[in-house]
């Protein structure tokens, strides 16, 4: 049991596709005896008294968080439903990385709240005209009328799309 759990933990840390941030942030399932095994970055034996020459070349682990998440406190993940953004390469089941701290600009892809519904669309914001524009000719452009309330929930900064499933 403990052997199996250990190899699982190693796999999570090593597999490039899973986001470490979320793994670590999760409310965890308790596995008896499972302790995360920390993989050494460089594991040369160090001779007493002499610093290892490898020490100068040691790198930190790289993490997807560094390139995908600028503001951890305001970054959320949401799941795509439907194909209204397919021409922007956003497909059903993709995970969107959404930063709420960013001020939405014209042409941003945003998660918006319209009449209580959350939806992902491209934001048109020019000359006092506000639109939510789908990236799929089968879907209508949504003009925001006067008196209608549109809230931009957050700005989409990236998507995560898996090409191969386990």
């Amino acid at each position: 049991m403990s052997q199996q759990a250990t190899s699982e933990a190693v796999q999570i840390r090593h597999s490039g596709v899973s986001l470490p941030r979320q793994c670590e942030h999760d409310v965890v399932q308790l596995i008896p005896g499972a302790n995360t095994v920390r993989l050494p970055i460089a594991s040369s034996k160090i001779a007493a008294g002499f610093p290892s020459p490898a020490a100068d070349h040691m790198d930190e682990d790289i993490s997807l968080d560094e390139i995908l998440i600028e503001h951890p406190a305001s970054t959320y993940f949401v799941r795509v439903k439907g194909e209204s953004m397919k021409d922007a390469h956003i497909y059903e089941g993709d995970v969107l990385i959404v930063d709420k701290s960013l001020t939405p600009r014209h042409d941003d892809i945003v998660v918006a709240v319209l009449d209580g519904e959350m939806t992902v669309k491209r934001l048109y914001l020019r000359n006092g005209i506000v639109r939510l524009v789908p990236e799929n000719p089968d879907f209508p452009v949504i003009d925001i009328q006067e008196g209608q309330e549109l809230t931009v929930w957050g700005v989409v900064t990236s998507t995560i799309r898996r090409f191969r499933h386990a």
């Binding site: 670590e24 409310v27 308790l30 951890p72 406190a73 305001s74 799941r79 209580g116 929930w153």
Partner: protein, 434 residues
């Protein structure tokens, strides 16, 4: 200035109390905007009692702590939506909210899951009403939670200012007592029931009422010495704080019963897991002691670590994790085991940690606790005796005389929540769909 008015702008210290409006309800609304404007309640674990209410629910007269089954009749007349408490979500949203609030001052005290004090004394050049609005706007934008801000020379006054900010729409969610005319404050205090003062419970306000102290203004006008003789040093402190005199320092707040929080900034930066484990164990021991002294048990715990957000050159990391417990407990061994388990999952190498903390949440009275079928009753009894002995020894010989070397307990997974919303921020399988 009228007789008895106090000019709070004459005091140098400025403390802010920031708290989330109807916090649990607001967390639900972030990911389910349709709930805006709807009547919502959040229920305690096992869907027992109301632990949070939306404004609409308060308007219907639904009280805190009411058993859910007693609302069945009301539900037939009004559409009321009830949620099981989703501590994974609330814990994560709390972490986010606190980290955003922490951007506004180097001195922050997280007081409960949804309340935080900030020391703003170092910003005499700022218009603090304006600064409060900035805090409000940023938390709303970054996290999605509406907050109110009360600012005053003391914590007791800041809590009160926060209450005014909530109740008076004209203040737009921010109230800086030092910026209001002294006679106006006195007038508001005359209209405010003495039970609204921090630390004055229902029982104590009944006692105060018998002595003709009905309002906040009455309490403030009472002689501190007389209050000490009639009541306690604690209430005397409250009176002094109402007068602008600082008696409760930062990191020094009395306990709040719904959660028990224990956290500290380290004297020096800490970067290894072992040191963090030691401090988290210490905090758990302290928190568990408090838990037992108020006859409660915790069903959920949260552990967090963070770097110093003000040392901009250093790489930043701030992470918390909510660990639901298989059954409510007040056992230091068990709590430590789960806290260290959580800590290991959030710990990352290569950061200079400045702060760590634990929060025990979802508290119930010990008398209400039911051992789950899987718990061994004999073992529980033995544990209870062990805890009593531990507390006695630590009471006699000083805190930390007896500590845990390690804990080896088999964890069990079980939790009943029929109306819980998805854990939007902590489970890949439960993200909100757009």
């Amino acid at each position: 200035m009228g007789c008895g008015d106090i000019d709070y702008s004459a005091f140098p210290s400025r403390l802010a109390l920031i708290d989330g409006n109807n916090f649990y309800v607001s967390c639900e609304r972030v990911f389910n905007p349709k709930l805006e404007g709807k009547t919502i309640v959040v229920l305690s674990n096992n869907d027992g009692c109301v632990v949070a209410r939306s404004q609409e629910a308060k308007a219907l007269g639904i009280k805190m702590g009411v058993p859910w089954f007693q609302l069945k009749e009301l539900c037939r007349q009004h559409p009321i939506q009830a949620f099981s408490s989703n501590y994974a979500l609330y814990g994560d949203m709390s972490q986010r909210m606190m980290s955003v609030i922490g951007q506004f001052s180097p001195e922050q005290e997280v007081y409960s899951i949804d309340e935080s004090f900030l020391d703003l004394s170092g910003f005499p050049h700022l218009d603090l009403n304006d600064y409060g609005q900035q805090i409000r706007a940023r938390v709303k934008q970054w996290v999605g939670i509406p907050v109110c801000v009360g600012i005053a020379p003391t914590k007791t006054l800041a809590k009160l200012a926060n209450h005014f900010a909530k109740k008076r729409p004209a203040l737009n969610g921010v109230c800086d007592l030092a910026s209001l005319p002294a006679n106006e404050i006195t007038a508001i205090m005359r209209e405010t029931d003495v039970s609204e003062v921090w630390g004055v419970g229902r029982q104590m306000s009944a006692q105060l009422n018998r002595m003709q102290i009905m309002t906040v203004a009455d309490l403030r006008a009472a002689s501190p010495n007389w209050i000490r003789q009639q009541f306690s040093v604690v209430l005397e402190r409250t009176v002094r704080e109402l007068r602008g005199e600082t008696c409760i320092g930062m990191q020094d707040s009395p306990e709040k019963r719904q959660q028990i929080l224990c956290s500290r900034s380290f004297g020096t930066y800490v970067s290894d897991l072992t040191s963090l484990q030691e401090s988290v164990s210490t905090y758990i021991a302290r928190a568990a002691e408090k838990l037992r002294s108020q006859q409660s048990m915790a069903h959920t715990l949260n552990v967090f670590i963070r770097t110093n957000p003000f040392s901009q050159k250093e790489p930043q990391y701030s992470k918390g994790i909510t660990v639901p417990l298989p059954s409510a407990t007040d056992d230091t061994l068990l709590l430590t085991y789960y806290a260290l388990f959580g800590l290991e999952r959030i710990f990352k190498e290569g950061f200079a940690y400045q702060k760590a903390g634990v929060m025990l949440m979802d508290l119930i009275d010990r008398s209400q606790a039911q051992p789950s079928l899987l718990d061994d009753v004999v073992e529980l009894e033995r544990r209870k005796r062990l805890m009593t002995v531990m507390d006695r020894i630590n009471g006699e010989f000083g805190r930390g005389s007896i500590q845990l070397a390690s804990a080896g307990v088999k964890p069990i997974w079980r939790m009943r929540q029929d109306r819980r919303s998805p854990r939007y921020t902590t489970r890949w399988g439960e993200l909100v769909g757009v």
